[in-house]
């Protein structure tokens, strides 16, 4: 009851003043009932920029000597300061650039790694009491090491306890400022190894036209620049099958690679919406992460100064889906609205569809992830199960699952429109990833409606499909990345 009193007292002190209500208990109960209390903070005088002080602060940052290393302590994209470390979704969310999760690592440059014979996963000693697995990060400057904060909890919950290393003790106070970094003169290879929970192990495109890009001036000259192959493949598409007509809806998704910033919001939104299980570090190491949408990250060839490409990848909902052909029990087939649908109850788990999917976007329930103490994340306890979305089935062990284009949302809005006796509006249905994308990179809609946003994006000369040469006819289109990089044109 102590904490309850404390919380109440704090609310009375801090928030009650913003409330219109006169009685605190009334305000308290109301806020508790709503679950949220909205208020506006009165804005004071604008903040000023003090350049001199900044350069002073910069000077106080210690500089490493020639053989030493600068250690930068940063917030991780998934966990931030570590406040939400006990959230299994965030714990398993891979870093957008390193594609690694479930612990913090010491990112070092390829040059330094080579010098010291370090490989990704080698345990390195950076300072007294600070031993971390190394991660070779292309693009990292030589002589620098970066490590994420927010790990190494000891009493904060079952998920985050004893995961990774706590970096706060190394963020020392100096001159009243907290210094998120320090200098060390040695990077010691302990010659011990650990396995990193990587969600992607190969980072080059191998010259394949997976993420297509062009430079701005080229794009201005020719909007189809960088995407020449699209028309080429389109012209050679010869099918031996009769064409299938979709009356009514034909759902499609356009992903603008130029807009995507690789933030992973879509991944978490999808996970929350679709009850996707968290599988734990060992299963990530076994390459069995369950995310329905993932953001592939590629580097351009040079590891010293790589360019980074992000590509959100979920089920492409191919109209000629190779996965559908091969399921013996009809568990996956094509809907009349162009969806590649999964009947979980029908699936017996042959995994043939996984193999035959050229995009490898199908996921298999390797173990029972619900009510299983070995996977004590969200769905092993009654409280944890509160995160589940009641509109979406929780999948059984041994069943294949994948992105459904949030079919529950499609059905909901269709039903709503039907009840209201009106046609469905464009953009009325938002898939979870589309809703969460801060950059508006993902657009979902009806391809049969020529005025829908997604149709317009499909008419864009930048549009292409992944692995077009296979004639899988994906319902997901990508838009060529246009770089503001004039060097590309030469």
């Amino acid at each position: 009851m102590l904490y309850h009193d404390y919380l109440k007292a704090n609310w009375e002190k801090v928030y009650f003043q913003f409330s219109k209500s006169s009685d605190f208990m009334n305000f308290w109960n109301q806020s508790l009932g709503n679950g949220v209390f909205n208020y506006t903070i009165p804005v004071g005088s604008p903040l000023k920029f003090h350049g001199e002080e900044l350069s002073g602060a910069m000077k106080s940052v210690p500089v490493a000597n020639e053989n030493g290393y600068e250690v930068i302590i940063s917030e991780s994209v998934a966990l931030g300061t570590g406040m939400h470390a006990n959230n299994p979704w965030l714990m398993e969310l891979p870093d957008p650039v390193s594609r690694q999760c479930w612990e913090n690592v010491a990112a070092i440059s390829p040059g330094d790694a080579q010098k010291l014979g370090i490989e990704s996963g080698t345990l390195v000693k950076i300072a007294e009491g600070l031993i971390l697995p190394a991660f070779i990060q292309p693009g990292q400057a030589d002589g620098t090491i970066s490590v994420a904060l927010g790990y190494g909890h000891t009493g904060s919950g079952p998920v985050c306890n004893n995961i990774g290393v706590n970096l706060y003790p190394f963020a020392k106070l100096a001159d009243g400022n907290r210094s998120y970094g320090f200098v060390t003169d040695k990077l010691e290879n302990t010659h011990k190894n650990s396995q990193l929970a990587l969600t992607q192990v190969h980072y080059l495109m191998e010259g394949r036209p997976i993420v297509r890009e062009t430079g701005l001036s080229e794009y201005l000259n020719n909007p189809a620049a960088g995407n020449e192959q699209h028309s080429e493949f389109e012209s050679t598409h010869k099918s031996l099958y009769p064409e299938i007509k979709y009356d009514g809806f034909h759902w499609g998704m356009a992903i603008d690679l130029n807009a995507c910033i690789g933030c992973n919001s879509c991944v978490i939104a999808c996970q929350a919406e679709n009850n996707i299980p968290v599988v734990g570090k060992q299963e990530v190491i076994n390459r069995r992460i369950m995310h329905w949408i993932k953001i592939d990250r590629y580097y351009s060839d040079s590891p010293d100064d790589p360019k980074v490409y992000f590509q959100p990848l979920a089920c492409q909902h191919c109209d000629n889906a190779p996965c559908e052909n091969v399921c013996p029990v009809s568990a996956t087939n094509h809907s009349s609205e162009g969806l590649n649908q999964m009947a979980y109850n029908r699936c017996v788990g042959t995994k043939y569809c996984i193999n035959n999917c050229p995009y490898k976007v199908r996921r298999f329930n390797w173990y029972r992830y619900t009510n299983n103490k070995e996977f004590d994340f969200n769905t092993a306890s009654d409280l944890g199960k509160m995160v589940l979305n009641p509109d979406v089935t929780v999948r059984e062990r041994g069943v294949v699952e994948k992105c459904s284009f949030c079919v529950q949302r499609i059905q909901e809005k269709k039903l709503q429109a039907k009840l209201e006796n009106r046609t469905l509006k464009d953009n009325e249905i938002k898939t979870a990833c589309m809703q969460a994308c801060p950059a508006g990179a993902i657009v979902f809609g009806n391809l049969n409606d020529k005025n829908s946003m997604v149709s317009k994006l499909f008419d864009d000369p930048r549009r292409y499909h992944l692995l077009e040469e296979l004639h899988t006819l994906p319902s997901t289109g990508y838009l060529t990345k246009v770089r503001n990089d004039e060097k590309l044109n030469t």
């Binding site: 493949f233 050679t236 010869k238 099918s239 031996l240 000629n320 190779p322 040469e469 004639h471």
Partner: protein
């Protein structure tokens, strides 16, 4: 038992007239429509080469499996084999037609096409001709070797069992070498001559399919020759068991061919990858579709249906009907493989008919004269006795 064949004057006359018609058509065709003529020249030339290769196959397979029943008919396969040398000369003429047949032989086309550039180390005219010459040299040398061993058997003393067996073992050894070399060279040849007509398209089973086709049609023509000779009184010991065995060969090979054909089609149809379907896409348009189905009906469905019951496969008339279907079938098969990638015109006119007749006449002439040059029955073959008194 008649030991030697005498080729009648009439037969010589007819075949030579047919050959002359062929030559005439060829020259007329070259002047009027070279592309069409060269494409058909390839079809027909390959057609009769495949029959010769079928003869080779029959010979080597019988030696390797030490089959007894067929040894009396060995000379027929030898006669068919001997056509290869002439086919080689006719194939060399093709060099003048490469530009009309093969898209990849055009320098300017290759310059625009990265895929053809990739293939150009293999698909270029000098190497193409070089390979052609190598294939034929290998084939001709081995065929002469086998033939001479076979002829030497006639000279041996019938009582010298060891000598006869030694000869047979030698023949078996060369057969083993030949079948291996044939598998490699004929596969490559099929890629070179037929598959590269559609230079972007590829199929791994293609060579095997054509190999099986050659064997199937070679054996059926061989059977036809045996039956004709029997009718003229040459193979008096030919009984229903021999007939049955020939029929079984045709039956099995037709199934094998159908199997390869279906495997290729089914896998491409199922995968539906444009890179591969482009091939069938063209062959499924309009009139081609008729030929496409005719091909499988003539080469597989009819032989299968007719020869399935044992009774029919001991009945020579039934078998002859099947063989006629197969003779047409092979032409249709090759036509469907070559023409869409060259002229793309679906037609059967003077050029097609004239060339076919010409080659047929020439082939018949060569086979008949070769047959007449040696004893019809290899009298000292170690398994001859098994063959003469063959029982199931």
């Amino acid at each position: 038992m008649k030991e030697n064949i005498v080729v009648s004057r009439n037969f010589k006359l007819v075949t030579l007239i047919l050959t002359a018609i062929g030559v005439g058509t060829f020259i007329f065709g070259l002047l009027s429509n070279p592309q069409l003529t060269w494409a058909n020249y390839l079809v027909v030339n390959y057609y009769f080469l495949s029959l010769a290769m079928g003869g080779v196959f029959f010979f080597v397979l019988q030696s390797i499996s030490q089959s007894g029943w067929s040894s009396a008919f060995q000379r027929v396969s030898e006669a068919m084999m001997s056509y290869t040398a002439f086919a080689g000369i006719l194939f060399l003429l093709l060099v003048f037609g490469v530009n009309d047949i093969y898209h990849w032989a055009h320098k300017e086309a290759v310059a625009l096409d990265p895929l053809l550039q990739h293939k150009s180390p293999f698909l270029n005219v000098p190497f193409f001709v070089g390979r052609l010459i190598i294939y034929f040299i290998l084939w001709i040398v081995l065929i002469r070797k086998l033939r001479s061993i076979s002829l030497r058997g006639d000279m041996t003393d019938p009582a010298d069992m060891d000598g006869i067996l030694a000869l047979f073992n030698k023949s078996e050894l060369y057969s083993k070498i030949f079948i291996f070399i044939l598998a490699i060279t004929f596969s490559l040849a099929a890629f070179d001559w037929i598959m590269s007509v559609d230079p972007h398209w590829y199929s791994t089973i293609f060579a095997l399919k054509n190999l099986a086709a050659a064997f199937l049609h070679g054996v059926s023509v061989l059977t036809l020759i045996v039956f004709i000779l029997h009718k003229r009184g040459y193979f008096p010991f030919l009984n229903k068991y021999h007939t049955h065995d020939f029929a079984r060969y045709i039956f099995m090979l037709s199934i094998v061919w159908g199997y390869f054909w279906f495997a290729q089609f089914m896998i491409i149809w199922y995968g539906n990858i444009p890179e591969e379907t482009a091939y069938y896409f063209v062959r499924w348009k309009e009139g081609w579709k008729v030929l496409f189905f005719l091909e499988i009906i003539l080469n597989w469905a009819i032989p299968f249906m007719i020869l399935l019951p044992v009774k029919a496969s001991r009945n020579r008339t039934a078998i002859v009907i099947v063989i006629i279907c197969l003779i047409i079938g092979q032409y249709v098969d090759l036509y469907v493989q070559v023409i869409p990638g060259t002229t793309g015109l679906l037609r059967f006119g003077i050029v097609e008919a004239g060339l076919f007749l010409g080659f047929a006449g020439f082939f018949a002439f060569i086979v008949a004269t070769t047959l007449s040059k040696a004893k019809l029955i290899p009298s000292n073959h170690p398994y001859l006795e098994e063959s003469l008194e063959h029982r199931f």
